[in-house]
């Protein structure tokens, strides 16, 4: 949901006075082209996984490099009564659910999450639009939550279901990553940003930081985490909102 404003733009109707730049836009709806895109993305993932075999960390930056301002992109205020009610009592009644292919489903309040050992990291957020900003994120490692919940042997992906409706037709945002990224030490569910409670515009009460990947994978307003063995039953089947509605690549390590 990082890039909502621009992308919504593109999904919305607009009259281009004259198309200067030719794109490959509609080609993607035809299966062979989409298969080619998916094949390329799969190839990228396998190639990157080879060079990531030693499980490196992305660089962490000194506090002096924290951006003075950080673009507030995508949804900046989820609509609807439910989120408003959560805000009204400062998320006290809200619980993060972890369910699906886990041994022990979890439902944790923000206070419970904050009582777990925390990880703080200063990292660079790279938006697929091209900009970069540095923020400090504090939260609980996803690996720690999965250690609490246990994972069934057939667990393969973590799906993040969010509180914000992004679609023009009113769908909630969703994203997914596989377990290698989910269990990476820098993959956290952040409740703090730059030393303060995570602001609404950046995804309160909880947002994903998956540092190996680009902006739109870093889902804001995470409400529940579903562990699944396949993605084709989620949304339109490509694993995420931008993947489904904008043909964005699912493995976004680029």
């Amino acid at each position: 949901m990082t890039d909502l404003i621009t992308r919504r733009t593109l999904l919305g109707s607009f009259a281009a006075a004259g198309t200067l730049l030719a794109g490959c836009s509609r080609l993607d709806d035809k299966t062979p082209f989409r298969q080619l895109l998916d094949a390329s993305d799969g190839f990228t993932m396998h190639a990157q996984r080879l060079i990531l075999a030693k499980r490196p960390l992305v660089r962490e930056l000194p506090p002096s490099q924290i951006s003075a301002t950080f673009p507030m992109n995508g949804t900046t205020m989820p609509q609807g009564d439910y989120y408003k009610r959560l805000l009204d009592d400062e998320f006290r009644d809200w619980k993060l659910r972890v369910h699906g292919l886990v041994d022990r489903p979890l439902a944790l309040t923000l206070a419970q999450l904050q009582s777990l050992p925390a990880r703080t990291q200063i990292t660079m957020h790279n938006c697929d639009e091209g900009w970069s900003a540095v923020g400090q994120w504090t939260g609980v490692q996803l690996a720690r939550l999965f250690a609490l919940s246990g994972l069934r042997p057939n667990a393969r992906y973590a799906v993040f279901h969010c509180l914000d409706k992004i679609d023009l037709d009113g769908k909630y945002y969703y994203e997914s990553i596989d377990l290698q990224d989910a269990l990476h030490p820098q993959t956290i569910l952040a409740y703090g940003m730059n030393g303060k409670q995570l602001p609404i515009g950046y995804g309160a009460p909880l947002r994903l930081r998956v540092e190996m990947q680009i902006g739109y994978k870093n889902a804001k307003y995470v409400d529940r985490i579903e562990v699944v063995d396949r993605l084709d039953t989620i949304g339109k089947g490509r694993g995420g909102w931008w993947e489904d509605f904008d043909n964005a690549v699912w493995y976004a390590g680029q």
Binding site: T9, D28, R59, W131, A133, G253
Partner: protein, 277 residues
């Protein structure tokens, strides 16, 4: 190059072996797709920064800004360094942002544009470029073509030869006879720069924009002086490559379109007789 004699005493060189022709045309197609998708990716954030971070509010060395986005033609300004130009009506295209607001692009995009797919295509074709480049480099070395065709000879580097080369280029004079059978110094230097500097720079700066790749190879970020620097280098190198292609195509027309096209398609290059000028 094996000279052949035909009945009218034209000399024909077999100038371009198959690997050269395949790489040339594959690259031409791949670079065209990469340029179009790359420009579309740039279009959504037409600002270039130096250093690590870069976003709205951070000084850019190149930036397109706009006001009066509610008009059909917005008031736009191009800033490069400390210089500013009014580019109203030349650059800038406004689209709805979906919240009742407006958003500025540098140039109009296709009406049914899928930005995510554009990036996907860019990466798919980047694979072809990235994989074929080292293969071609090995071919140039292994086949001896690098030494035979591309590396400047001692004679090329003599001051008199260089001066003459520039003079011939300025007059747009077509090479004939023996001198047409080999690349001149300016050709050699530009081909070497494209193959061994420009395209590798594009590949490396592209890779440096990846979170995962820089996690594995953090030195890449230092090499380019920051993540946003890598993005800017990527864009500027692409523009240099466009410049190369423009000059390259122009030269093809100057030096004989049919002969040069034939040589890059069939491999065969007809050498003009010295006295046919």
């Amino acid at each position: 190059m094996q000279p052949e004699q035909d009945p009218v005493k034209r000399q024909i060189d077999y100038r371009h072996p198959l690997p050269v022709r395949v790489w040339h045309w594959a690259n031409a197609a791949v670079l065209a797709v990469l340029l179009m998708t790359g420009l579309l990716i740039f279009d959504i954030h037409p600002h270039l920064y130096w250093g690590d971070e870069g976003h709205a509010g951070v000084p850019a060395f190149l930036s397109l800004s706009g006001t009066h986005l509610d008009r059909d033609v917005p008031q736009t300004e191009l800033q490069v360094g400390n210089h500013r130009w009014d580019v109203t009506g030349i650059l800038g295209s406004v689209i709805d942002d979906g919240f009742g607001g407006k958003y500025l692009l540098a140039a109009p995009a296709p009406a049914d544009w899928q930005f995510g797919a554009t990036r996907g295509w860019h990466f798919a074709f980047a694979w072809i470029l990235g994989l074929s480049l080292p293969l071609y480099g090995l071919y140039l070395l292994g086949s001896g073509r690098l030494k035979k065709m591309l590396l400047p000879t001692r004679g090329d580097l003599e001051l008199r030869s260089i001066a003459n080369e520039f003079w011939q280029h300025l007059r747009l004079k077509r090479a004939r006879g023996e001198s047409a059978r080999r690349y001149n110094l300016l050709q050699k230097v530009s081909y070497l720069s494209v193959i061994f500097v420009l395209i590798p720079t594009l590949v490396l700066s592209g890779l440096t924009m990846s979170n995962a790749i820089t996690a594995a190879f953090p030195d890449l970020i230092a090499l380019f002086g920051g993540r946003q620097s890598a993005r800017s280098v990527h864009f500027l190198a692409a523009m240099l490559l466009v410049l190369f292609v423009l000059v390259h195509v122009f030269q093809v027309f100057v030096a004989g379109f049919f002969n040069l096209m034939r040589s890059m398609i069939t491999g065969r290059f007809v050498v003009d007789r010295e006295d046919s000028a």
